[in-house]
């Protein structure tokens, strides 16, 4: 059941079933912009809509979102919720080809991650580099994409003690996500390698290499 939760007076949090619905709603809002919507934040299971209540009231945002959602995903109770024969609408895949990220698999945590997953280092590298990834959300820092594996989930916990400085370009895993650190910063994810790809450049257009919904493939540049 989808819900719309107020988040203060200037934002609404739309809860959805999963990433496909999030990306579909995010794309739909951008394609049919409503005056007064200041920003849209897609995340793994939600879309947060920032708006100016002086320009558009919350009820209008809710109505707008309802119209953009497929009938079986609407937030109002009229459709009677889920039915056994519910049709899943086709969520179009992005037209762009996958972004290829070259990786030197030399991360300090690589052996430890392999052990945690019950794999050899070679198996881990093969799995990570053969998996299709998709960007679920970009947050935490400019250009920091949270990527989910479509074929496999490499789920390891964060480090118990975060590092005070993770190098820019570090490729890391935590909580089922893969991320790439856009610049040197403190970080608690497990480092499996590094890339020379520039995921964030504020002077580039577009500044972020990875956007929500983008497909990503990791390519072995070096492995132990």
């Amino acid at each position: 059941m989808r819900r719309v939760l107020p988040c203060g007076e200037r934002a609404l949090l739309v809860e959805l079933d999963g990433l496909d619905d999030v990306l579909a709603l995010d794309a739909a809002i951008r394609a049919a912009p409503l005056a007064g919507i200041d920003d849209v934040v897609p995340a793994a299971r939600t879309v947060l809509i920032h708006f100016d209540p002086a320009v558009v009231p919350a009820v209008a945002i809710v109505a707008h979102v309802d119209l953009l959602l497929p009938p079986d995903r609407r937030t109002t109770a009229g459709t009677g919720g889920q039915s056994a024969a519910r049709q899943r609408p086709e969520i179009p895949r992005p037209a762009e080809p996958a972004v290829e990220i070259p990786v030197r698999y030399d991360g300090d945590d690589l052996p430890h991650v392999a052990v945690q997953l019950g794999l050899t280092v070679g198996e881990l590298v093969a799995l990570h580099s053969s998996c299709s990834y998709r960007v679920a959300l970009v947050g935490f820092a400019p250009g920091f994409a949270y990527m989910v594996g479509e074929d496999a989930e490499l789920d390891v916990p964060r480090r118990t003690t975060p590092r005070t400085a993770v190098p820019a370009g570090a490729v890391a895993l935590a909580g089922g996500y893969c991320g790439i650190y856009p610049r040197e910063m403190p970080g608690g994810w497990q480092l499996i390698g590094c890339t020379t790809a520039t995921v964030w450049d504020e002077r580039r257009d577009p500044p972020a290499l990875l956007r929500p919904g983008a497909s990503v493939r990791f390519v072995i540049e070096w492995q132990p």
Binding site: V4, P6, G8, L48, G139, A141, G143, E202
Partner: protein, 307 residues
């Protein structure tokens, strides 16, 4: 180049109204922490509200005018030291002749003081459409340092002549109450917390810890207990959100908060009260007051209630 920083004080940054529309790139809004005071300073200087100002933290800022400037200062009350003929004072525009120095003393209450320069404000280079320094994201100009020379004058942001305060502005210049009282609405994860936690947040006092900054106020006081132990997938965050990490101590998000976060939000402080929060310093005491959830649900109309 129109003014030279002599002393940034504890922290001084360039801020305007921030970056809008870049959340899906992981870029938060940033911008002035106390929008009301910054707006007043710009208005007194005859600037558009979007003009870039200097946000000084705990006063201490000192700079020299390299050309004739008109300046206005608003926010936390600081003693102002300038040549006598400048007739410098808070909350009114005054002239700084070329070569004159303005020095802010330390505020006895409040935290952030805004310095606006007539002619459209500071004209430093914008990044992603804004001249704001986002300390968390590392975007925009670096924090000000002694020796920095800043350009002034953006004709697109200077339309009016400098003005004098109207009666309503007296609200902005009154020192904040203590304890500060911040009104809040239930947040999206209100029901992840116990009834006792709801009661605690609406009644008890909290102290602003020294770990507070432009990202948010880290509060010390009774921890807020969770009703469920499920982990929250990261979701969009808002300024004014009260998020609760595992230790139960609330964090009130301010201007440089990250775009997304994984800690549940129990409440969201009213937008205008976040400007009050932006003036609270370590050691200050604050309380929250719940605004009615029923009132909010009525305003939202067609929102489905939670199953």
């Amino acid at each position: 180049m129109s003014l030279t920083i002599l002393d940034p004080g504890r922290l001084a940054t360039v801020q305007d109204l921030g970056r809008r529309g870049f959340a899906s790139l992981g870029v938060g809004r940033s911008g002035v922490a106390d929008r009301r005071s910054a707006h007043l300073a710009n208005r007194l200087a005859g600037n558009d509200p979007g003009a870039a100002v200097i946000e000084a933290t705990f006063g201490g800022l000192a700079f020299r005018a390299e050309i004739d400037l008109v300046v206005a200062v608003a926010g936390a009350h600081c003693p102002l030291h300038a040549p006598p003929r400048a007739r410098a004072g808070m909350h009114l525009p005054f002239a700084l002749a070329a070569g004159a120095t303005l020095r802010l003393g330390a505020p006895t209450s409040g935290l952030r003081t805004y310095v606006a320069v007539a002619g459209g404000g500071l004209a430093v280079e914008a990044v992603l459409g804004s001249r704001s320094t986002d300390l968390l994201a590392g975007l925009g100009p670096p924090p000000l340092a002694a020796g920095d020379v800043l350009p002034v004058g953006d004709p697109t942001l200077s339309a009016r002549r400098a003005s004098v305060p109207a009666a309503a502005d007296s609200l902005a210049v009154r020192p904040p109450a203590s304890p500060a009282l911040l009104r809040a609405l239930p947040g999206p994860r209100y029901d992840w917390f116990t009834a006792a936690a709801h009661g605690t947040l609406g009644q008890d006092t909290y102290l602003v810890s020294s770990k507070s900054d432009r990202t948010g106020l880290r509060l010390v006081g009774p921890p807020l207990a969770r009703a469920t132990s499920i982990e929250l997938p990261s979701e969009g965050m808002v300024r004014g959100a009260i998020q609760v990490p595992p230790d139960g101590l609330p964090v009130l998000l301010l201007a440089d908060h990250p775009v997304t976060g994984g800690y549940p939000v129990i409440a969201v402080v009213d937008d205008e009260d976040t400007d009050v929060a932006a003036q609270l310093r370590p050691g200050d005491v604050l309380r929250f007051r719940w605004r009615s959830r029923a009132e909010n649900a009525t305003r939202l109309g067609a929102v489905a209630s939670s199953p």
